[in-house]
Symmetry: C2
Subunit: 92 residues, 2 copies
DNA sequence: TAGATATTTAGATAATTGTCTAAATAATAA
DNA sequence: TTATTATTTAGACAATTATCTAAATATCTA
């Protein structure tokens, strides 16, 4: 999973809002859906893109699938940005 | 200029490489072009997207237009990412 | 088992995007 | 001015994407 996927995932406002909502803790697809005016299929599409980008994890619990934030990729991106600013500890 | 434009700008590998190249200092479009195998028109398109996203600045000097990194937007993005991680000083 | 609920997958469509060629603009040099 | 160099803009085209409807899968409950 490279930056390509991550930035594409982050470039959609619905997906950024999903990440914001998940700050509060794990939520099911149905919980998340209440915050949007789109079909479940569309939301599911966004969730799969976020998952492929490594930005969220999912875990089924019975009928529900709970999604959680995964901030590892965000750390990688921030390190890359710091390196652009000439502030990355890992190089130079 | 919102995150929408910024993340879209960052989601293309050519544009991320342009930013990397500009770490070394200002470069003209022609300087940058040497590092890619695309037409000047295509590169110009990428530069305009980066500029619209606030990620680079440009300044004409005679025949040349020099591009420089602008890291302000990167700071904004990093703050947003820190807030996702629950580490933003500006809130909570 | 059958039925209900939660979620995803498949397939279609309109909008966006990255690239190209050709033409236009800007600045310099002869 | 004319020609040359540097860069952008315009227009076209193929690939990608966000959304939808309809159907499929997974789980629970009666």
């Amino acid at each position: 999973m490279g930056f390509q996927e991550s930035f594409k995932a982050l470039s959609d406002p619905t997906r950024r809002e999903i990440l914001n909502l998940l700050r509060a803790g794990p939520m099911s697809a149905g919980d998340l859906l209440k915050h949007f005016s789109m079909t479940g299929a569309s939301l599911s599409h966004h969730l799969s893109i976020l998952k492929n980008a490594g930005l969220i994890d999912d875990e089924r619990q019975g009928k529900y699938i709970f999604y959680t934030l995964n901030t590892t990729v965000l750390d990688d991106i921030m390190n890359w940005m710091l390196s652009l600013k000439g502030e990355n500890r890992d190089e130079e």
